[in-house]
C-alpha cells in the first residue's frame, strides 16, 4: 500500500537489522542449562541436528548433537551462532499497524479485525482470487500443510504460492518428469559409497557445508570429484575436475558428456532398454553435441569434457548432485533433465552407492514443497487439476469440489498480477521478496500497489515494512513440528521455549484467522501433532506418502524417510530399488534437452555475465543471519567477484567500488579481485535488500515448466562508482554493522 511513509533509516532504527553477538545471559560464565532440547538447525536443507541449551524459558546456548546420524554434531557457522537470534533485541513482540509515522503497536484483537475486514472487502470487490498468499519453506511440514489448507479453504483463493519458486521448483519439475516423484533418489549415506561424484552448479562448501564430509568420505575411498561451476568455489578448488562452465550453458555441457558416453558405449543398455522410455530420441538429440561444440558454448576446453566423461562413463558407482546453479534458469528443468539423463543412461540409480539428488536449499525445502504449498499442488504432492486427486483431498478436508480453488498463479506471476491490478491483497509469511524476488525494483513497485499487505514474521523483514499489518510470529525453536531434510528424512523440530512478549506461534495465528474468517470447523486442532496426523491421511496414496510416519517413530528412529505408506513400513531411504519409477508405466522417462540460450546474454552494450549466489555466512534473504554479528562481520555486505584479467582490462583494482548495471537496475559494490571466477563473469551474493540487493539486476523471465526465474544469468556492464554512490555504499555498509541500542 503505497510507498513507505518514513525513510528506511527510521525502520532500521526501530526494528533493525541490528547486529548482536551476545548470548541472552551474556558472555560471562554460562549458567547450567535446565535442559538440552534435541532439535534441528533452522537453516538450509541439511537440517543438522543440534541441541539447544535452555534455562528459564531462554535459549542460552547450544551443544552439538553427536548422535544424530546425518551430521554427527557437525555444524556450519550459521548453525553455531543460530541461538543468537532467539532473544535478539529486534524480535517483534506485538502486532503492528501501519500509520503515517511507520507503525504503531496494536492488540491482536484490533489487528485480526482489520485483517478480516480487509480480506472480505477485497474479495467482495475484486473476487476471491484477488487476495493472494505467499509463503516460505523454512516453515515446518505442519505449517506448510496448514497454509495450503488455509489459503484454499479460509481465504478461498487459488493464488497461493511459495518461495520455493525461487529455489527448488526446477528440480521438482525435472524430477517429476523423469521419475514421477520429487525427492532425492538416495539418502546421503550413499554418497561415500560412490566412485565418482558429479556436483553440478552447487557451491556445496558454502551452501551445505555439512554435506562436504560425505564427499570427502567418498574421496577417502578413492572417489573422483567433478564440479561444474563458473567459480572456483572451495569445493571446486579441491575437485579432481573443475569445469568452469559459462553461466547458462550447463545443458550443452551435459549433452556433450552424454555424446561421449554414447560414443564410448559407456551405456547400461539393459537398463536403458528395459527400464527407460525415450532413449532413441535422446540418443539422436545428442548426435552432434561433440565436446568441441559444447566447449565453444560453455567456454571450457573440449579435452576437459572428454576427461570428465571418461571418469563418469565407466564408473561402477556414482552420485550426481545439483543445486541452484543449474536450476535457477529459464531452462532450469532442461538442465536438471540433462543431468538425470547422465544417471539413467549409465543405469546407476536405485542401488547402493548409485545416487542422484538435488540439494534442497531451504530448511524445509523438501517437505514444504510436498503438501499443498504450491499454486498447482495438493498434499502428498498431488496435482490440483487432477480430478481424482481433488476428490481425495476434498474428502479429507470435508469440502465439495466447487469449494476447492483450482490452479493459481506462481510467485512472479502473482507479482505481475498485482502490477496489473488483478490482485489487491496479500498475506505473506516467511517470505521476503524485496531480497529474493528477481528484479526487486519491480517487486517493490508491486508491493507499493497492493491495497493491503499482511506479513507474519519474527523480525521486521524488508518486505514487512510495506505491510499494513505485521503480525509477530514464531521462530523454529518456538513451535513443535516436523521438517523433511534434503535427503527425504522426516525429522522432529522441537519447541524449546515460548514466543516472546505478545508474539504467537504461527499456527496459532493462522488458526485464529481461519476462525475469524468463519471456517473454524475445518481448522479445529488441539495441537500440531493433530495437524501432522491429518497431513498423513491427506498424503496417503500420493507420491509423497507420509501415512506411516508418526511423531513417535521419528523420535525413536532419528527420522523416517518417505514414502512410508503404513506404520509397519521401514521408510524408504533409497528410491527405485525395484528399478521402477513412480510413473504409471514404471519407466524412467528420458527427455531431450536441446540447448537454448539464456533469456539475456551479454552483448555490446552489456558485455559481461552477471551471476548470483550465496555466502556461507548468510541464509536466504538474511532476515535472521544479517542480525548475528559474527556472521555479519565475516560477510558484511555484497561484494563483486571479478577475475584479474577482466579487472585489468577495465582498469579496476581490488577493493575499488564499482557500479554494476543491467537493463533493470544498478548496484554499487566493492570489487573482490580473484582468479577463482571466469574472466567473462562477475558474481555477487544476494542476501541483502534495497540498494544492496543483487536481485535489482536479475531477470524475471521464467522457466516455462517450473516458473523459476533466471537468477543465474544476466548481462551487465560495470563502471567505476561515482563519489555519491561510493559514499552511499560506505554508509550502507556501516548501517549493516549497527548494533542494537547504539
Amino acid at each position: 500500500m503505497a510507498t513507505l511513509p518514513i525513510p528506511e533509516e527510521k525502520y532500521i532504527q526501530e526494528f533493525g537489522p541490528h547486529v548482536t553477538d551476545t548470548p541472552v545471559t551474556g558472555w560471562t560464565a554460562k549458567p547450567e542449562p535446565d535442559k538440552l532440547v534435541k532439535t534441528h538447525c533452522c537453516f538450509c536443507g541439511m537440517q543438522c541436528g543440534i541441541q539447544l541449551a535452555v534455562k528459564d524459558n531462554q535459549v542460552i546456548g547450544y551443544e552439538p548433537w553427536e548422535d544424530f546420524p546425518f551430521n554427527e554434531g557437525r555444524l556450519c557457522p550459521k548453525g553455531v551462532k543460530r541461538y543468537m537470534q532467539t532473544h535478539h533485541p529486534d524480535r517483534l513482540t506485538d502486532p503492528l499497524i501501519r500509520t503515517e509515522n511507520g507503525f504503531r503497536k496494536a492488540t491482536w484483537e484490533e489487528a485480526f479485525d482489520l485483517i478480516v475486514r480487509k480480506i472480505r472487502e477485497i474479495q467482495e470487490r475484486k473476487g476471491k482470487d484477488a487476495f493472494s498468499m505467499l509463503s516460505g519453506v523454512s516453515l515446518t511440514n505442519e505449517k506448510s500443510y496448514l497454509i495450503g489448507k488455509f489459503a484454499r479453504i479460509a481465504l478461498n483463493t487459488a493464488n497461493l504460492d511459495y518461495n520455493g519458486r525461487f529455489c527448488m521448483v526446477s528440480a521438482g519439475g525435472g524430477n517429476k518428469k523423469a521419475f514421477g516423484v520429487d525427492r532425492a533418489a538416495n539418502s546421503w549415506a550413499d554418497i561415500p559409497k560412490a566412485d565418482v561424484i558429479y556436483v553440478a552448479g552447487s557451491n556445496v562448501s558454502e551452501c551445505f557445508p555439512t554435506l562436504i564430509h560425505y564427499i570427502w568420505a567418498a574421496r577417502d575411498r578413492g572417489a573422483k570429484l567433478i564440479v561444474a561451476d563458473p567459480r572456483e568455489t572451495p569445493i571446486a578448488r579441491t575437485a579432481d575436475y573443475h569445469i568452469p562452465v559459462r553461466p547458462g550453458t550447463d545443458s550443452a555441457l551435459n549433452q556433450a558428456l552424454l555424446h561421449e558416453l554414447i560414443r564410448n558405449d559407456w551405456i547400461d543398455h539393459e537398463f536403458v532398454e528395459n527400464n527407460c522410455k525415450g532413449w532413441e530420441e535422446l540418443k539422436k538429440s545428442v548426435e552432434d553435441c561433440t565436446p568441441e561444440w559444447a566447449g565453444e558454448i560453455c567456454g571450457v576446453h573440449p579435452e576437459l569434457i572428454r576427461k570428465v566423461a571418461a571418469e563418469w562413463g565407466p564408473a561402477k558407482t556414482s552420485f550426481l548432485l545439483h543445486a541452484r546453479g543449474i536450476e535457477q534458469h529459464t531452462k532450469g528443468v532442461d538442465n536438471v533433465l540433462s543431468l538425470i539423463n547422465l544417471v539413467l543412461t549409465t543405469g546407476r540409480i536405485g542401488r547402493e552407492g548409485c545416487g542422484y539428488g538435488t540439494i534442497t536449499g531451504q530448511g524445509n525445502g523438501q517437505g514444504g514443497r510436498e503438501h499443498g504449498h504450491k499454486c498447482d499442488q495438493l498434499p502428498g504432492n498431488r496435482d490440483i487439476e487432477n480430478p481424482a486427486h481433488r476428490e481425495y483431498i476434498c474428502k479429507v478436508w470435508g469440502i465439495t469440489d466447487e469449494e476447492l480453488p483450482r490452479k493459481g498463479m506462481s510467485t512472479v506471476e502473482i507479482f505481475k498480477a498485482v502490477h496489473d491490478d488483478e490482485i489487491a491483497g496479500m498475506l505473506t509469511i516467511c517470505f521476503n521478496p524485496l531480497v529474493s524476488h528477481p528484479n526487486t525494483n519491480f517487486a517493490r513497485a508491486c508491493l507499493e500497489k497492493l491495497d493491503f499487505l499482511v506479513s507474519i514474521d519474527f523480525f521486521m523483514n524488508e518486505t514487512a515494512r510495506y505491510a499494513d499489518v505485521v503480525l509477530p510470529g514464531s521462530l523454529h525453536e518456538e513451535e513443535e513440528g516436523t521438517v523433511t531434510s534434503a535427503e527425504g528424512r522426516v525429522i522432529r523440530v522441537r519447541q524449546a521455549i515460548t514466543p516472546p512478549g505478545n508474539a504467537k506461534r504461527d499456527t496459532e495465528i493462522l488458526l485464529e484467522l481461519a476462525r475469524r474468517l468463519g471456517k473454524e470447523k475445518y481448522f479445529s486442532y488441539n495441537d500440531n501433532e493433530e495437524i501432522f496426523n491429518e497431513l498423513r491421511v491427506a498424503s496417503k496414496g500420493g507420491t509423497a506418502d507420509y501415512s506411516g510416519i508418526t511423531w513417535k517413530r521419528i523420535e525413536e528412529e532419528m527420522g523416517v524417510f518417505w514414502p512410508c505408506p503404513e506404520e509397519g513400513h521401514p521408510g524408504t531411504p533409497r528410491l527405485f530399488e525395484d528399478r521402477k519409477s513412480f510413473h504409471p508405466d514404471g519407466k524412467f522417462h528420458m527427455h531431450t534437452t536441446p540447448y537454448r540460450k539464456s533469456h539475456e546474454v551479454p552483448d555490446a552494450e552489456y558485455p559481461i555475465y552477471y551471476t548470483t549466489g550465496r555466502s556461507v555466512f548468510h541464509y536466504l534473504s538474511g532476515t535472521q543471519t544479517r542480525r548475528i554479528k559474527f556472521l555479519v562481520e565475516q560477510a558484511t555486505g555484497p561484494i563483486c567477484e571479478m577475475h584479474p584479467k577482466l579487472a585489468e582490462r577495465l582498469g579496476y583494482k581490488h577493493r575499488q567500488i564499482v557500479t554494476i548495471e543491467t537493463r533493470r537496475g544498478k548496484l554499487s559494490v566493492p570489487l573482490q579481485i580473484t582468479e577463482a571466477i571466469r574472466p567473462d563473469t562477475v558474481f555477487v551474493p544476494y542476501h541483502w535488500a534495497e540498494r544492496l540487493s543483487a536481485n535489482q539486476l536479475t531477470v524475471d523471465a521464467l522457466d516455462p515448466v517450473s516458473k523459476m526465474p533466471e537468477f543465474k544469468v544476466a548481462a551487465c556492464r560495470i563502471r567505476a562508482a561515482t563519489k555519491e554512490e561510493a559514499a552511499q555504499l560506505r554508509k550502507d555498509y556501516s548501517t549493516l554493522l549497527q548494533e542494537a541500542g547504539a
Binding site: P644, R655, Q672, T674
Partner: protein, 239 residues
C-alpha cells in the same frame, strides 16, 4: 581398562573457510566470547583456499620458554594452557615467538589466551568444540587407529621444520605417505617478495614449476573482453 587415547588431527586441504570452528570456539568456558581458532584466507587473489589454525601444543613450547614471567604452563597431558592470569604481563613475546602464530594477547585483560584444546570439554570426555562442528573433517578428534582407517591416502605426522628448527607437536597434521615432516622454508618464498600479492605470484610460479596436472585444460577458454571505461576511483577501505 583405560579409554583409548584420542588425538587431534588437522588437514588444511579440507578447510572450506566456513569459520564454524571460530564461531564454536567462542563457546569455550575458559575464554567465552573470544575465539582462539584462526581461519585465514591463504591467497584470496588466486583461490578460495583457507586454512584453520589451532594450538599445535608443541612438545617443547617456544611460547612457554620465551615467556619472561613463567606464565605459560604445559600440563601432564601435554596441553599448553593460556597464560596464568596472576603472572602474565602481556608482553607479547609468546605471540611473536610461537612458530604457528597461535597465542593472542588481550591488552584489555592483560593476558595471553590461546587454544587449550577445549580443556573444559576434553577433560570431561568430550571432543573439542572445533573438531565437533568442523563440517569437513579439516579438524578431527579421534584415535590414531580411527584416523588411519578413515583416511588411508594420508598419514599423520607431528614434525615440522622451520628453517633449521625442528618442532614436534602433540597435534598431528595429515600429509601424503612419502612425507615425514612439513617443511616451512620461507626464505625461498620470501626473497624479494614485498607483500601478499607478490608472495602469491611467487608461490604460483613455484606450483607451475613443480607441475599442476593439465594446467591448460583447467583454464576457462579466453573470452572477448569489454572495453575499459576509465573513471574516477573510490576504494572500499572498510573491506
Amino acid at each position: 581398562m583405560s579409554a583409548p587415547v584420542k588425538e587431534f588431527f588437522i588437514d588444511f586441504q579440507r578447510c572450506i573457510g566456513c569459520n564454524a570452528c571460530v564461531a564454536g570456539c567462542s563457546e569455550c568456558h575458559t575464554h567465552r566470547g573470544k575465539p582462539m581458532v584462526s581461519v585465514d584466507k591463504v591467497d584470496p587473489a588466486h583461490s578460495a583456499q583457507t586454512a584453520p589454525m589451532v594450538c599445535m601444543h608443541c612438545k617443547e613450547p617456544t611460547c612457554a620458554l620465551s615467556c619472561p614471567a613463567d606464565a605459560i604452563k604445559m600440563d601432564e597431558n601435554g596441553i599448553v594452557h593460556s597464560s596464568l592470569k596472576p603472572r602474565c604481563i602481556a608482553c607479547r613475546n609468546c605471540e611473536i615467538a610461537c612458530p604457528f602464530g597461535v597465542p593472542k594477547i588481550s591488552e584489555e585483560i592483560q593476558q595471553m589466551q590461546k587454544c587449550d584444546m577445549c580443556f573444559d570439554r576434553t577433560s570431561a570426555g568430550k571432543k573439542p568444540m572445533c573438531t565437533t562442528v568442523c563440517p569437513t573433517g579439516a579438524l578431527f578428534y579421534g584415535t590414531m587407529e580411527e584416523m588411519k582407517r578413515l583416511r588411508p591416502h594420508s598419514k599423520p605426522i607431528n614434525k615440522w621444520r622451520f628453517g633449521k628448527q625442528v618442532i614436534e607437536t602433540k597435534l598431528w597434521v595429515m600429509v601424503p605417505h612419502d612425507v615425514d615432516e612439513v617443511v616451512v622454508d620461507w626464505p625461498e618464498l620470501l626473497n624479494g617478495a614485498s607483500g601478499p600479492i607478490d608472495l602469491a605470484v611467487k608461490l604460483k610460479e613455484y606450483f607451475e614449476k613443480h607441475g599442476v596436472p593439465d594446467p591448460e585444460i583447467r583454464e576457462p577458454l579466453p573470452e572477448s573482453m569489454p572495453e575499459a571505461r576509465p573513471d574516477e576511483t573510490e576504494e572500499a577501505e572498510f573491506l
